[in-house]
């Protein structure tokens, strides 16, 4: 049913509909409203267990324990909260615990800012979590049941990321698929290995050099092989809800005949689409390749779409200090791996909530008219 809702509240509603068993969240702007609403639902008896914790390291640690017993778990955080979880995020992936977390993306200190960019998840890109970047609240709501399905079938944790404030605090019309709809799609979580007093095992084990690489190799392969399941899950759920967001890994917005392309993630893509529509009315052949699955990264799809393009601009909402920015690096790697040569420029912008508008997107497309490779802040 379509309702007028704040993005954060729609996400909380969806977590109830996904029948999460155990929650542990520590409030941090801009994710706070999600946690707040879930607390309310716990008080109302709609959520079986909500562990109040003193900080984010505890939140994710508590969920690691809960998930190890076979519970469906959820947490939400932002910025320094993600950074404080860092150590445990890697452990959770290595332990193959299917925790789902919503990150409301926000800049990292310093300077202290509370607004959106993607720097907070960049240190976690190598952690083994699947990272899905959503453009809209509707997409985030529709992605959460898929996140659980992927997490629990692949035994990989999943981050569903939304831009802080732009989405978390936006009040708009959102359709939250009902519990009945979600139940049809999302089976109960029945792990093969779990903490059980009748059949005790140790999880989070120590491993000698003889075995450790094998575990890492398995994990690496499983994250790599998650691309097909991500596509399949998106296809399956989109049939149920009659909405879709590209193939689950990427969204191709008018790229097929385009000469110049912007590659970007999350909410800025809405503005890029607007710019594309306006420029196309004037006869300019421009398109957007939106990366939805940041990890695993859709190298093949990027190669496919960038075939025979004239100039590509990668928009990063984060930096790699002393190196090329993160998304740009991945796109370069994708193209190096293929037989094509296309100029790829780098644009960094929107840091710490700096507005990136339709105009910003148009300026990038203007920059792409020249053949010269550019690397700049916008």
């Amino acid at each position: 049913m379509v309702k007028t809702l704040e993005g954060s509240h729609a996400i909380a509603d969806m977590i109830v509909n996904c029948e999460a068993d155990v929650l542990a969240c520590y409030p941090i702007t801009p994710s706070t409203h999600i946690a707040e609403k879930l607390q309310k639902y716990y008080a109302d008896g709609k959520i079986p267990e909500y562990i109040t914790v003193e900080q984010e390291f505890s939140a994710i640690s508590a969920l690691a324990g809960a998930s190890a017993t076979g519970a469906r778990t959820f947490t939400t955080t932002s910025s320094q909260g993600v950074a404080l979880m860092h150590e445990v995020l890697y452990a959770v992936a290595g332990m193959r615990l299917p925790i789902v977390m919503c990150v409301a993306n926000r800049s990292l200190n310093s300077p202290l800012g509370i607004w959106c960019d993607h720097q907070d998840i960049i240190p976690e890109r190598d952690s083994g979590w699947i990272i899905l970047m959503c453009e809209s609240n509707q997409e985030a709501v529709d992605t959460l049941p898929q996140a659980y399905k992927l997490a629990e079938s692949l035994l990989l944790p999943v981050m569903v990321c939304i831009d802080g404030f732009y989405l978390t605090h936006a009040v708009e019309q959102i359709d939250v698929p009902s519990k009945e709809i979600v139940q049809k799609f999302l089976p109960k979580f029945k792990p093969e290995f779990k903490l059980d007093t009748n059949n005790p095992i140790t999880l989070g084990i120590y491993s000698t050099p003889q075995y450790l690489q094998d575990f890492r190799e398995d994990l690496a392969n499983d994250v790599d092989n998650a691309r097909e399941p991500i596509k399949k899950t998106e296809e399956e759920f989109s049939k149920i809800i009659n909405r879709n967001y590209g193939n689950g890994l990427i969204e191709n917005y008018k790229c097929d005949d385009a000469e110049r392309i912007i590659i970007a993630m999350s909410s800025f893509c809405g503005n890029v689409k607007e710019a594309i529509d306006e420029l196309r009315d004037k006869g300019e052949k421009v398109g957007l390749l939106r990366i939805k699955s940041y990890r695993p990264f859709p190298y093949k799809d990027v190669q496919e779409i960038l075939k025979n393009k004239k100039h590509v601009g990668v928009f990063d909402r984060a930096t790699t200090l002393g190196g090329h920015p993160p998304l740009y690096t991945d796109v370069l790697a994708a193209i190096y791996d293929s037989d094509q040569k296309v100029p790829i420029s780098s644009f960094i912008g929107g840091l710490g909530g700096k507005d990136v508008t339709v105009e910003t997107a148009k300026n990038i497309f203007e920059d792409l008219k020249e053949n010269k490779i550019k690397r700049k802040f916008v």
Partner: protein, 95 residues
């Protein structure tokens, strides 16, 4: 101990690193020892202080006195320190 991956077999379910309980028994850590404690049972008063303090759980006390399991004793000599009647002594382990 986790099972070594068999690369010839396809793994259907993603593998969770885990170990069964009790597997620590398989690692005979006594081989690390370079000091060997021994108990003079004629003086032992069976107070079990040594067994309680042994970090490896390598001492059992029965009606005949305290007995060290050398498969696991690592030779830290805490038992020797703790024994109230000083009936535990040690010498260098000979391998």
């Amino acid at each position: 101990m986790a099972q070594k991956k068999d690369k010839t077999k396809e793994i259907k379910v993603p593998k969770v690193p885990h170990s069964k309980c009790d597997t620590a028994k398989e690692n005979k850590t006594g081989s690390w020892r370079d000091q060997r404690p021994s108990i003079d049972l004629s003086k032992c008063i069976k107070c079990a202080q040594c067994a309680l303090h042994c970090p490896d759980g390598a001492i059992e006390v029965d009606e005949t006195g305290a007995h060290i399991n050398y498969d696991y004793c690592k030779g830290c000599l805490i038992c020797e320190r703790i024994c109230p009647v000083k009936c535990i002594t040690h010498k260098k382990e000979e391998k």
